[in-house]
Assembly symmetry: C2
Homo-oligomer: 241 residues x 2
């Protein structure tokens, strides 16, 4: 028996197959949001499987966001919300340390990478709003290098908004609980201060000024410096006291 010619046995469950078949059908027939989907019983007939199997496959597609179903109105096709699925599982208490670390790093990458979008889309209104955030922060801060989560969120959250990228904004929104959790978990409290290698600390005020009169290049440099404690943390170069 030549085993290189033997065909792998199909191990997909019936539900997997029906899920796959339905997705193929939607794609090939160019389904658009709002298009009605055939009734369960008709699908059973067409697919030649039991109602239980069809029902379970439809439930999966509903959970993933491809199907909308309202009582007495039948099912319709919809464009899945790419962030919504993420949102439902993004619970820091249920994610492992490795995943949490990779999400933390992702935040650093996003904030370093978004500079061009900030300079492209910033408006006077945005700058005024950041000005107000920084002003409030300065009024209530004694130690400007101390880390305070709520101030971080106000300032950096506004930057995500300026990027005009809704996927990015919502992604940031659902990463927030992850950051809060990480900060609570470790030594990132407002009582810990970070020792900068050399030279000046870059504050939110300085980032704002850079956004006003700088370029994406100068802003990236300033942001890198601002995020230095977080980068050192990601790379296990701890300098916290």
């Amino acid at each position: 028996m030549e085993l290189d010619k033997i065909k792998a046995v199909d191990t997909l469950s019936l539900v997997d197959k029906v899920e796959h078949e339905l997705m193929q059908y939607f794609k090939e027939n160019n389904y658009k949001p709002g298009d009605p989907i055939a009734k369960e019983l008709d699908l059973c007939d067409a697919l030649g499987v039991s109602r239980t199997v069809v029902r379970e496959a439809l439930l999966r597609l509903r959970t993933l966001g491809f199907i909308d179903s309202k009582k007495h109105k039948g099912m319709t096709f919809k464009e899945p919300d790419i962030i919504n699925n993420f949102e439902r599982i993004m619970d820091p208490t249920l994610l492992g340390q490795k995943t949490l670390k990779s999400l933390f790093e992702l935040r650093l990458i996003l904030e370093m990478g978004m500079a061009d979008f900030l300079f492209e889309y910033k408006t006077q209104e945005d700058l005024d709003e950041l000005e107000e955030i920084v002003r409030l922060e300065e009024e209530t801060s004694y130690d400007k290098t101390a880390f305070e989560l709520n101030k971080e969120i106000a300032f950096h959250g506004k930057l995500y908004k300026i990027s005009k990228n809704t996927t990015l904004q919502r992604f940031h929104g659902l990463l927030l609980p992850v950051f809060e959790y990480l900060y609570q978990q470790e030594e990132f409290t407002k009582n810990s201060t970070y020792e900068y290698t050399a030279g000046q600390f870059v504050s939110h005020r300085m980032l704002l000024n850079n956004l006003k009169v700088g370029t994406p290049e100068t802003f990236r440099g300033a942001m890198r410096r601002h995020l230095e404690p977080h980068f050192d943390r990601a790379f296990f170069k701890k300098k916290r006291t």
Copy 2:
């Protein structure tokens, strides 16, 4: 009647409530991957709802990746794979134009933002591999500014790998079909060349040299220049001929 004191009616379905209740239970009891989950019938009793409702809620959690269930072995809890959910819905033919644009932008942001990780984790082996990718590319390219998707993927895909961030790598993997689709859809073919504003085009060869002897700062500058056609496209500044 004082309407500000009236309580909003609970409009969640029974299945929603059971899903929520189960998630709360897992969190409060600090469930870890592999922990067994009670049987359907026991859950029905404890929650006071029908088997159909429990079954549907469990199916949802299974689809989201919180529950593993093998035949004759019962259900166990698992850490959801944050990318797997994304993967299942990331089909460019089923996503709207706005979502596709935001994903395209996200790629630019990630590649601009990952420089520090590349310099932190690069090894001689990585550089050798990139060297080989660039060598092959140069051997088969006539016009170095022409865009060829497969060469892009080889080079940039390797950069994602060097970042050592598995979430980022897998995210890039599932964005690939989106990029392919966008390039096919629009004028980004290998026959179209991009007119650079002024000065030198930054090739993969130059990015590689930068990664060898430069810094994250110089690399970001080079990458920005390399990605210029894509940024111009994102900002609707078309300079293609």
